[in-house]
């Protein structure tokens, strides 16, 4: 017989963990949050193992005749959302320090999971800001600023589109960077850009694996070798996809007779 109460706690803790993992939290933070939530529900034995692709959770009430329950949650796909991490962090603190009921907790979590990222237009503007100001940082001129603005917003738009049809991360990085490079080359050939390199560097900046890199280090530091190495591999794959996207685009351009 499964204890109804225990099942609800399991669902609550796993849901919180899954949301955090998907939003790009480190493994030790996810494990810590799940443990804290379970301990707050007076479950003495909690063991969690969180990796970027799945969470394993065992609970036992500790009495001699109680069953031990183990759940596995497979995690698929991820999108970085630091707001969700912050809110779940606050939620777990609130849940452990006050006597919030489990149902209330579940409804709060549902609300957090339904929260939307910034509106699409604002995000495209953000991407454009990144690429255009990076073009300026890398010795771009005022003209390059606008080229990078355009190239960055287009490639980010494409990445949103590719996310919708659920392509894998290599194809996404490859296509977006190839398109950004082609746009930069095109604008350059009609005489709009001055410093081609700065425009391309600016527009590939959006897709760099900074999150995977920092999380890989933090996980490894915390002793989560599985998560650390898998995030490290993710970072390498993204970097390779970006480099090959740019490379293929430039090669294609010169093969088609464009000036470089």
């Amino acid at each position: 017989m499964i204890n109804q109460m225990q099942k609800k706690i399991l669902i609550l803790a796993l849901h919180a963990g899954e949301l955090m993992m998907k939003s790009g939290a480190e493994s030790y933070r996810v494990e810590d949050t799940i443990t804290r939530i379970c301990k707050a529900c007076k479950i003495p034995y909690v063991e969690v193992f969180a990796t970027p692709t799945g969470i394993f959770l065992s609970l036992d009430e500790g009495s001699p005749d109680s069953d031990m329950h183990t759940f596995i949650k497979r995690i698929k796909g991820s999108s970085i959302d630091l707001d969700k991490i912050s809110r779940i962090n606050h939620f777990s603190r609130e849940f452990t320090s006050t006597d919030l009921s489990i149902d209330a907790g579940l409804s709060i979590l549902k609300e957090i999971s339904n929260s939307k990222p910034y509106p699409l237009l604002l995000r495209i503007l953000g991407a454009a800001l990144v690429s255009s100001f990076f073009a300026l940082i890398f010795q771009g001129t005022f003209k390059d600023f606008f080229c990078a603005f355009f190239a960055g917003s287009c490639s980010y738009g494409l990445s949103v589109l590719l996310d919708k049809i659920e392509t894998n991360l290599f194809i996404r990085g490859f296509c977006c960077c190839a398109v950004a490079t082609l746009i930069a080359l095109g604008l350059f050939s009609i005489g709009l850009g001055v410093n081609l390199n700065s425009v391309i560097i600016g527009s590939i900046m959006i897709f760099l694996p900074g999150v995977a890199l920092t999380n890989a280090v933090r996980d490894t530091l915390a002793g989560d070798m599985v998560s650390g190495s898998s995030k490290g591999i993710e970072a390498v794959i993204i970097a390779v996809s970006i480099a090959s996207g740019v490379g293929v685009a430039i090669k294609l351009w010169t093969l088609m007779g464009g000036a470089f």
């Binding site: 962090n89 800001l129 990076f134 300026l136 694996p209």
Partner: protein, 147 residues
């Protein structure tokens, strides 16, 4: 220098929008990134190599993020992730790719190594600062109980 600060601030805010940093922290995340980039450019101007500059910049990002995370009672990730991104060697990657396309193996090896080392230096900087702060807080707690 002021321009570099401003540009880095704007691009970090751009990253923060992409990663959905809470609205109230947008400006502080931008500040972290800009300060990291400022340190990087300062080290470059004063004549040290790319790798050391990158290391110093990441250290500053990690320290300020830690301070902010304590001040605002929020996860340090919110500041570290956007803050570190200007330092990630996108330019190095691009120049390595160009060298590959030109068939210039020597240039590819040198820029490629530098790029990898820069990424590594970011990682090491985060690692060092995290360990040091952990040690310091432990020490502080010990001292508090001692007195």
């Amino acid at each position: 220098m002021i321009w570099a600060f401003l540009f880095a601030f704007c691009s970090t805010v751009g990253f923060s929008i992409l990663f959905h940093v809470p609205k109230k922290h947008l400006a502080s995340a931008g500040f972290v990134g800009a300060l990291g980039w400022l340190t990087y450019t300062y080290f470059i101007i004063s004549g040290s190599g790319n790798i050391l500059a990158c290391f110093a910049g990441s250290c500053v990002v990690a320290i300020i993020s830690d301070v902010f995370s304590r001040a605002f009672k929020d996860a340090a990730t919110i500041f570290v992730i956007p803050g570190i991104l200007p330092l990630v060697p996108g330019a190095g990657m691009y120049y390595t790719m160009l060298a590959i396309l030109e068939g210039n193996v020597e240039k590819m090896a040198s820029t490629g190594t530098e790029t990898i080392l820069m990424a590594g230096s970011i990682a090491v900087a985060l690692l060092v600062i995290a360990s040091v702060t952990k040690l310091l807080t432990l020490l502080g707690r010990k001292l508090l109980t001692y007195f």
